[in-house]
């Protein structure tokens, strides 16, 4: 049997975020928290492969107790086990501290029940960093592929997977050996509709809570705010983009176009690319 782990983050729905113009801070009140959209697709692809082969899916999420909602959403898509990693000590973590905690948790899970594939989102929409996946991969020393948009095959016998990914320059087909870590784009799988029995099951299934010292002994200085080398020195609302210039209506068409092209430095732009 194969063992998949999906790491999911619960994030504020950034499309609903407002900033207090006076203080420059986030107004979190009334902003709903959601399962990070890319993570939902990562879970969906794990669920889809579970239907094709004998597999078990474990979901992990680090965050406050309210993250249970996201784990339940994963149960609806076929996850078998859910672990919430939650403690005051973990608060304020940057990507390095987050990847440290996930790494320790994954090692523990792996020691008990060997992991074959870790699925993550390509990025979390609250920070848009996309750093945690490759950081965890490097810590584990496992092959790591980011921006996966298709899992073509998973050879159960040989432990090989064929993956497609697209970057700015390439469309690649890559063969990877298990155990591996993949970060997923939305195209990797569509979000399935949950069946009624699955929905019922998801509501009642138990979620394990792992705290600071038990069952994993973390190093205090590597977690949370303490373990985060990056510090926000200051934050501010961006200057509104300078209201641009609308060219005078009476200007001649050819001149309008020339002026516009000059203003954006088009010659240079196209020259660089030539």
């Amino acid at each position: 049997m194969r063992h998949f782990v999906v790491a999911v983050k619960q994030v504020p729905d950034t499309t609903n975020i407002r900033i207090d113009p006076e203080t420059g801070s986030l107004i979190r009140k009334g902003v709903p928290s959601i399962l990070n959209p890319y993570d939902a697709h990562a879970m969906a692809v794990a669920g889809a492969w579970k239907q094709k082969m004998d597999a078990k899916i474990t979901v992990i999420s680090m965050g406050p107790a309210s993250n249970e909602a996201s784990i339940r959403e994963c149960f609806e898509m076929g996850a078998d086990r859910g672990i919430l990693i939650s403690a005051r000590e973990f608060a304020g973590a940057d990507t390095l501290a987050t990847s440290y905690v996930l790494w320790e948790v994954l090692k523990k899970i792996h020691a008990e029940e060997a992991i074959d594939v870790i699925f993550m989102g390509k990025q979390a929409i609250d920070g848009d960093t996309g750093q945690v996946g490759p950081q965890v991969g490097a810590r584990l020393g496992w092959p790591t592929l980011t921006f996966v948009n298709e899992i073509v095959s998973m050879d159960d016998e040989q432990g090989l997977a064929v993956i497609r990914r697209t970057t700015e320059q390439y469309r690649e087909t890559v063969e990877v050996k298990m155990p591996m870590l993949l970060t997923c784009q939305k195209e990797v799988a569509a979000i399935p509709y949950a069946s009624l029995p699955m929905l019922m099951d998801a509501m009642t299934k138990e979620i394990e809570v792992w705290g600071f010292g038990d069952p994993v002994a973390f190093e205090r200085e590597k977690v949370g705010l303490k373990g985060s080398p990056t510090k926000v020195f200051r934050s501010f609302t961006p200057e509104l983009k300078q209201m641009g210039e609308v060219l005078p209506v009476e200007m001649e068409l050819a001149e309008k176009v020339t002026t516009a092209f000059n203003k954006v430095n088009l010659e240079k732009l196209l020259g660089v690319k030539a």
Binding site: G24, L96, R139, R171, V176, T230, Q242, V246, L270, A274
Partner: protein, 351 residues
Amino acid sequence: MSKSDKLQIWTMVEIHQGKADSVSWELIGAARNAVALGVESGGCGIEYDVTAVVIGEHVQEIAKEAISYGADYVMLVDDANCGTYINEVYQHALFEMMEEHQPDIFLIGATTQGRDLASGMAAQLSAGLTADCTQMVIGPPKEDMPCLLMATRPAFSGNLMATIVCETARPQMATVRPHVFVALERDETRKGKIVEFEVKRPFVNDQVKILAQEFLAQATGGIEFADVIVAGGRGIGGKDGLVLLKELADVMGGKLAVTRACVDANWASHEIQVGLTGKTVNPALYIACGISGAVQHRVGMQNSQKIIAVNQDADAPIFSIADVGIVGNLFEVVPEMIAQVKAMKSGMGAK
């Protein structure tokens, strides 16, 4: 490269198909600019070196190019194992370099490859990594503080800007968004030193095998990676309008995108929709034609470096975020644009 009191700033050179990606040279320009800004704001008048890291196979010429773009030093690994990017292999080479030389600052392009490489390195070095920064200053953040990299990045979908510093962990790492910073003019007379770095431990890679790699011409990649986007809204009136815009996109070597109104009308596929329920893009240039500029569209494109808007309604909200606005009929403006780009290009070819 003697370990000196000078601040050591390193930048990564990203190579595809034997050519350096333009972001590589932007990083060198960005580093020098960041120090200059620090001095300007009363910061430390520090001395510093910029070292460009070149890893690849048959990349001697690129190492020389790095110097003509302003690097003082180049750390070069020219090795048959490094012909294509595999994160483990590149991290291996970089890790040895970093251990030996311990730079203060390390900048990498915020590309798919750069993010991957930077993240893996940061984890291995326990370094702080700021993602996707768009402003940089190197100087003391406050009086009595040492010279630090102050990296500013958009957070929460651009609703907030955050300036990040790493006080103690080294190197201070950041990925830097392409097209934001300006490269120095290429100058073959610049002097610098190329250091061939010898990787001591053998390379291993038996877990990842690239079966096929199709190099995407600028024109076939997704819109989220395009340098130039020509976007159409309901104002294009139908599929014929899209053909016109496609022609403009093609002559500019760019990509076509649309608003949701066009997708809803079945003129185009969702794959090229920009906005809240579509893709987010940040090209160097976004030309919006017949687009009103609804907020759901704007969130997907307002981080473009330059925006030209064409709309016949002078009150269209799109003009409020455009760098240049042309009030007019797109069926007149776009053909004129096509003609001028063609002229511009043939002019360039003659040089």
